[in-house]
C-alpha cells in the first residue's frame, strides 16, 4: 500500500463516529461541521477519511448513516468481540461494571483473579474464576481480546498465558511495559505516567 495510515488517525475515527451518532436527524454532514464538533481541523477530517476510502459527495458532504456504517466496519466494531478480564480489584471491578463497552460490541465474558476471597463471587453476572483456569477458558472460548488489570507483579506472567492461549490484542493497565510478540496488539494505559505528564506540564508552565 502506498498510503500508510497514521496510527493517530484511528482514534480520531472513533471520535468522528461518536459525533455522527449525536448528530442524529441530519442526512449529510460536511468536514467543516465534523471539524467544529471534534476540534480537529476540517482538512484533517477529510484527510483521515480518505485514508480509508472515499465516502463523501463534493458540494454536499458525507451521508451520516453511510459514514457511520463505514467507520464501524473499518474499526471492526460492527462485529461483537468477546473480552477476558484478568484482575478484578478496584480497577477491574470498575471495568466490569462499565456499561459503555457493550454498546460498542465489547463484552467481558469471563473474569479471573488470584485472590481466593474474590474467586467464586459473581459481579455483573460474571462469576470470577481462579487465575489457574485462565488459559484453558480463553482457549475453549476462543477469546481474542484481553484486559489486564492486575498489579505490576505477575502481569507479564498473566499476559504470557493470554498470548499462549490465543489472545491477539491486550489492553494493559498494569504499570509495566510487557513484552509481546509483534503479532499481538498491545496498548498500555499507565495512570501514573499520565499524572506525571500533567505534573511536567505544570512544572514547565510555571517557569
Amino acid at each position: 500500500m502506498i498510503n500508510k495510515i497514521p496510527q493517530a488517525a484511528v482514534p480520531r475515527l472513533s471520535l468522528y463516529y461518536r459525533v455522527l451518532v449525536e448528530s442524529r436527524g441530519k442526512d449529510y454532514v460536511s468536514s467543516d461541521e465534523l471539524s467544529k464538533l471534534t476540534n480537529f481541523t476540517a482538512a484533517q477530517v477529510r484527510r483521515d477519511l480518505t485514508y480509508f476510502g472515499q465516502f463523501g459527495t463534493p458540494g454536499k458532504g458525507y451521508e451520516v448513516e453511510a459514514l457511520k456504517k463505514a467507520i464501524l466496519s473499518i474499526l471492526g466494531t460492527d462485529k461483537n468481540w468477546d473480552v477476558v478480564l484478568a484482575g478484578v480489584g478496584n480497577l477491574g471491578t470498575a471495568l466490569l461494571s462499565y456499561k459503555g463497552f457493550e454498546k460498542q460490541g465489547f463484552k467481558i465474558i469471563c473474569a479471573f483473579d488470584n485472590d481466593l476471597r474474590r474467586v467464586g463471587k459473581t459481579l455483573e453476572g460474571i462469576k470470577i474464576q481462579d487465575i489457574s483456569e485462565l488459559g484453558n477458558t480463553v482457549k475453549e472460548r476462543n477469546i481474542s481480546i484481553g484486559i489486564v488489570a492486575t498489579p505490576g507483579e505477575g502481569a507479564q506472567e498473566v499476559i504470557n498465558i493470554l498470548i499462549k492461549s490465543g489472545v491477539k490484542a491486550i489492553l494493559n493497565f498494569a504499570p509495566i511495559r510487557p513484552q509481546v510478540p509483534p503479532s499481538v496488539g498491545l496498548l498500555n494505559i499507565d495512570l501514573s505516567i499520565e499524572l506525571e505528564r500533567l505534573a511536567y506540564f505544570l512544572t514547565k508552565s510555571k517557569s
Copy 2:
C-alpha cells in the same frame, strides 16, 4: 528555545525513572542498558536525556542516583501535588483506592459526586462531598490537578468549574473531548476508544 522537546519524550522519561528505581545497587547505567530495559533504542535514550540537559559521562554512563533526581525534578514529581477527584462511581472509587499515586507525590485530597447516596460517605479516609461544593473547595485548598471520572453528561460542566476555580491540569476519563483554554493541560483517557483501537488492529491483521 531552539530544541523543542517532543511530547512523546515525557512519558519515556517516566519509564527511564522506573527502570532506574529497579536497578538499585548499580552506580552507573549506560544508554545501552537503559535501552535494553525499556525497549527504546539507545540513541533515543541519549537524545531524550539531552533534551533536558547533560547528565552523562562519556565512557562511563549515567550516574543512577543523580539521574533519578534529575528526572524527578524535570517531571515535577519531586514536589507533592494535591489532586481533586470529581465523580466517585466505579472508576472514581478505583482511582481513590489506587495506592500507586501517593508514592509518586500525587494525593487525592477531596472527592465530589452529585449522587446523594454517595455524598457523605467516607472512602479511603476521604469524605465524599456534594458536587455543589466543588468550586469553593478547590479554590480554598488551591488545588491544581483534577481527575474527572464522571459520565459524559455533565463532564464539561464539571471541568468548567474546575478551571474557573484554578485547576491547571486535568486527567479526563469521561467519554468526551472537553474544551479547555490553552493554558490548561488536558489528557484524555477514553477506554472505549482504546478498545476500538484494538478492534481495528484485529480487523486489520486478519486481512
